[in-house]
């Protein structure tokens, strides 16, 4: 596969690993955070940690848009789905996320019409094909996915569809990163920056991290070599005492992002004053909702949504895992009460959650690659 296979070459990986090891200052520990859940997934799926020296550790960040959805919002979605004439449509990632009384999957088992879709456009198609039913699309994702939702709403409006609406749970990445930077428990040396979010927002929004907090940021692709190269670029900055934003994923990410996509978001959606993030609490201006002029496509306007908060179980430590304060295996209920089969929290149920990635792929006594320094 072009643009994929070339970035999965093992020999180049060894070369990068050697270079990374060569940049480690003796006696210094390095903690780099990969913000994006997709990066966490790649790291575990390809066993990338085997390539890093002991002194470099990766901390998993909160960039998993499924993981941060509070149970109360899942309950709200289930409430919408429970209407007799509603067809709820959702990405596969949301199907097993539990609310206070079960997940979409469980509701489906009890007869609720919930259908998995690959694209919001598929949801639109269902709306066209079922004019007597009301179709609701559960919109999740960071700025990567928001433009697609927005374009779909614009299309629905252009076609004059009366039976399509969006339950909007889009969140924005910068507030999540700010929450990490403001967290007193965490001392990070640098960030592996989100890849696909950056195709939309560009690289400039991360400049405050390098400038005000002195931490280097490298926007990274999703193939194993992309991530290793990004780590190498971070280590180089640290060795040279620089702190800048660099773009390793330049083949896909334009420095200025995608203005058309940003415009689409802007015309259909606006920032909520605040939004609750599971594990991180209420964060202001961190999530999107439909604008008033698109109220007829806003599920929260068309339906009465309960909006009841659900407290996370006391033993659930998703918040700390999302902030990178705890590693998955350090959570008290990891692997025992909380498993992929019986998830307590979202970090375990989402395919990009750090706990799911670790449980499904990484749950091994790790023998790190011996430090190879060729000087």
């Amino acid at each position: 596969m072009r643009f994929v296979d070339e970035f999965r070459d093992a020999d180049k990986a060894h070369a990068l690993a050697a270079k990374i090891a060569g940049l480690c200052e003796p006696g210094r520990q390095y903690k780099l955070m990969e913000v994006c859940g997709g990066h966490t997934h790649t790291i575990y799926k390809h066993g990338l940690e085997d390539y890093l020296p002991e002194s470099v550790s990766l901390v998993h960040g909160p960039g998993c848009p499924v993981c941060v959805i509070p149970m109360g919002r899942v309950d709200d979605a289930m409430h919408l789905a429970a209407h007799d004439d509603v067809i709820m449509t959702s990405f596969g990632d949301m199907m097993r996320v539990p609310g206070s009384s079960g997940s979409f999957f469980d509701a489906k088992a009890q007869g609720t019409d919930i259908r998995m879709v690959y694209s919001p456009l598929d949801s639109l198609k269902i709306a066209r094909q079922n004019p007597d039913r009301r179709v609701v699309f559960m919109a999740i994702g960071f700025e990567t996915t928001a433009p697609s939702t927005a374009m779909t709403v614009l299309r629905a409006a252009a076609e004059g569809l009366q039976n399509f609406s969006v339950f909007c749970n889009h969140v924005t990445i910068i507030p999540a990163i700010k929450a990490i930077l403001d967290s007193p428990d965490l001392r990070l040396d640098g960030f592996i920056g989100p890849g696909h979010v950056s195709t939309v927002i560009g690289c400039r929004p991360y400049e405050f991290i390098a400038r005000d907090h002195g931490k280097p940021v490298v926007v990274a692709g999703f193939e194993p070599l992309d991530i290793l190269q990004s780590i190498y670029m971070l280590m180089l900055q640290l060795a040279e005492g620089r702190s800048m934003v660099e773009n390793q994923y330049a083949r896909v990410v334009p420095w200025d992002g995608n203005p058309t996509a940003l415009k689409a978001i802007g015309s259909v959606m606006e920032l909520r004053p605040y939004f609750e993030w599971r594990g991180l609490g209420f964060i202001s201006h961190s999530a999107l909702r439909m604008r008033d002029d698109y109220a007829s496509f806003d599920a929260e306007n068309l339906f009465q949504v309960p909006g009841v908060r659900v407290a996370d179980p006391k033993a659930c430590q998703c918040g700390e895992v999302l902030k990178g304060v705890l590693k998955p295996w350090e959570c008290k209920v990891f692997g025992t009460a909380c498993t992929p089969e019986t998830p307590i929290g979202t970090c375990m149920v989402s395919p990009e959650g750090a706990c799911a990635a670790y449980y499904n792929f990484g749950r091994l006594r790790r023998q790190r690659v011996q430090e190879v320094t060729i000087s």
């Binding site: 994006c36 997934h41 690959y118 694209s119 598929d122 433009p147 697609s148 190269q229 058309t260 990009e352």
Partner: protein
């Protein structure tokens, strides 16, 4: 969620300017290219696909540069390894 896959644009759909058929490793799907109206891809160009939309064009020059960098590292490493081996032979 982050899942974005490179695909090659085959053709535009005749009466739907926003829609293009792409090829991903022999698999074909129609996607919406409305987010790239400023710089529409041509057949033969590659795009990044996410939930049925093209988010960005893949810049072949940048891709080539990235691969060249990796090649150079790979070559340098191979050279060093070779040198290491040779020095052991004494």
């Amino acid at each position: 969620m982050c899942l974005g896959i490179p695909g090659e644009v085959i053709e535009f759909l005749p009466d739907q300017p926003d829609l293009a058929r792409v090829n991903v490793s022999g698999v074909r799907r129609v996607i919406n290219v409305g987010l790239l109206t400023d710089d529409l891809p041509e057949p033969g160009e590659w795009v990044l696909i996410h939930v049925g939309f093209a988010l960005s064009k893949i810049d072949e020059d940048e891709a080539k540069a990235a691969l060249e960098f990796l090649e150079s590292i790979g070559q340098a490493y191979a050279d060093e390894l070779a040198a290491l081996q040779e020095s052991r032979i004494e």
